[in-house]
Amino acid sequence: MSNMQFDAETVRAIEAILMVAVEPVAPDLLAQLLEQPTAVIDRLCIELAAAYDEAGHGFQLVKVAGGYRNQSHADLAPYVERFLLDGQRARMSAAALETLAIVAYKQPLSRAQIASIRGVDPDGVLRTLQARGYITEVARDPGPGQAILYGTTGSFLEKLGLNSLADLPPIAEFVPGADVVEALEHGLRIDAPAPDAPA
């Protein structure tokens, strides 16, 4: 840690606050409480996180969902899970993950828009995702019907261990490659049938 003399008190205060916080603490809030520029808070937190790593502690300081938090180190998960009897987290179903992916990249969007992409009624899945706090109603469609528009939450970012939506991989990376497109085109081709094709 640099400027140890000046920053030590701020760093110690950050450590103390993160110890009583129950959710990620925004750097702006830390900056306000500790009367330091946000940039200084961010720099100190990054240095602190690196110092924890270097010292080989069993915990980490990470930035998720726009704030800093302390968490147990991933490689100690077996011990932590033994301790927290209900520690094993429920895995999300394929349907939930796909719906979450659509909401994450296309937000805000309506139930009907999700249905048209997935080809199935997403009602039950949406309710589950909402109950778990991963998505929420973020707006109403201004058009007739005023459909509810959904978006992702901070809990979603926490669930995926991301700091912000900007950390999501660019959607362009997932556009199917030429081979897939070609296969699909062949599967749906409507040119003349082969002589032995069944009617």
Binding site: L18, M19, V20, A21, V22, E23, F59, Q60, V62, V64, R69, N70, Q71, S72, A74, A77, V80, L84, R89, R91, M92, A94, A95, L97, E98, L100, A101, A104, Y105, I117, R118, G119, V120, D121, D123, G124, E158, G161, L162, P169, I171, F174, P176, D179, V180, V181, E182, A183, L184, H186, G187, L188, R189, I190, A192, P193, A194, A197, P198, A199
Partner: protein, 259 residues
């Protein structure tokens, strides 16, 4: 020709169609629309047999596929006009675009799953303030009324609904197609010639229309009717060519779409 379909649970019609097309990817030139359509219809039947939730969306995509396939069966393909040809391609491209979008988000979901698995290995600190600070932590009951306690209780004891699409009105396709064929065999020799629109006039359920359409295709395959369509999405003209002798329904072998 039979497709042996493994039994993964398909999340939707695009999911199923993607699966059917992409598993053929090893030999792209073996993929044909006919095989895909047959396999798709067979899969829908199987889904119903094992009583999974089958959304009507599966059947709507089935209708689109059957329509694409039917185009290839209709006579007069050589003199299709250019507009029709373009519209047909448009329809196919729309389906293709939806499949590609579906595939995109399936792949994203895979990445989300890995991110979540990694993140799940770290547990956040949620202990909050210890007793030393008890006086400072705001009263959690502030602003909470007895009515809200009551609402929370009702919420807690209410069984969480798990939605299932009720299928009691969705008859298995096989039986319905056979029935529809029997009906058509009774009706068509008497009327001789009728438009598909009129044939399905009294039908309310989209599924019934689809089943009628499948029955018409069956009769076309058996060579007892002729089909004509002047323009894309235009009236389909159905003409009985089976002669005046009554045809017993049982004498028409019904393709049960098992590939």
């Amino acid at each position: 020709m039979a497709f042996a379909v493994a039994t993964p649970v398909f999340e939707g019609p695009f999911d199923l169609l993607l699966h059917l097309i992409l598993r053929e990817q090893v030999d792209i030139y073996e993929v044909s629309l006919s095989r895909i359509v047959d396999a798709y219809l067979a899969e829908i039947e199987r889904l119903q047999v094992i009583d999974l939730d089958v959304a009507t969306e599966f059947l709507l995509i089935a209708a689109t596929l059957v329509e694409l396939k039917a185009r290839r069966l209709l006579p007069g393909r050589d003199d299709v006009d250019l507009d029709d040809e373009l519209a047909l391609w448009e329809e196919r491209d729309l389906l293709l675009a939806r499949l590609l979008e579906c595939k995109t988000f399936k792949d994203v979901a895979g990445v989300f799953s890995r991110l979540a698995d990694d993140a799940d290995r770290s547990y956040p600190r949620t202990a909050g303030a210890d007793q030393r600070y008890e006086d400072l932590t705001p009263d959690l009951l502030e602003g909470i009324t007895a009515t809200r306690i009551r609402a929370a209780y009702v919420r807690a004891i209410t069984p969480k609904p798990v939605q299932r699409i009720d299928l009691f009105h969705v008859a298995p396709v096989r039986a319905s197609v056979a029935d529809a064929v029997a009906e058509l065999l009774d009706e068509l020799p008497r009327v001789g010639r009728i438009s598909f629109r009129r044939l399905t006039n009294g039908l309310v359920e989209r599924l019934d229309v689809i089943v009628r359409f499948l029955a018409v295709l069956e009769l076309f395959k058996q060579g007892v009717i002729e089909l004509d369509q002047d323009e894309l999405f235009g009236e389909i003209d159905v003409r009985w060519t089976g002669g005046l002798e009554p045809v017993a329904a049982g004498s028409i072998p019904i393709d049960d779409y098992e590939g």
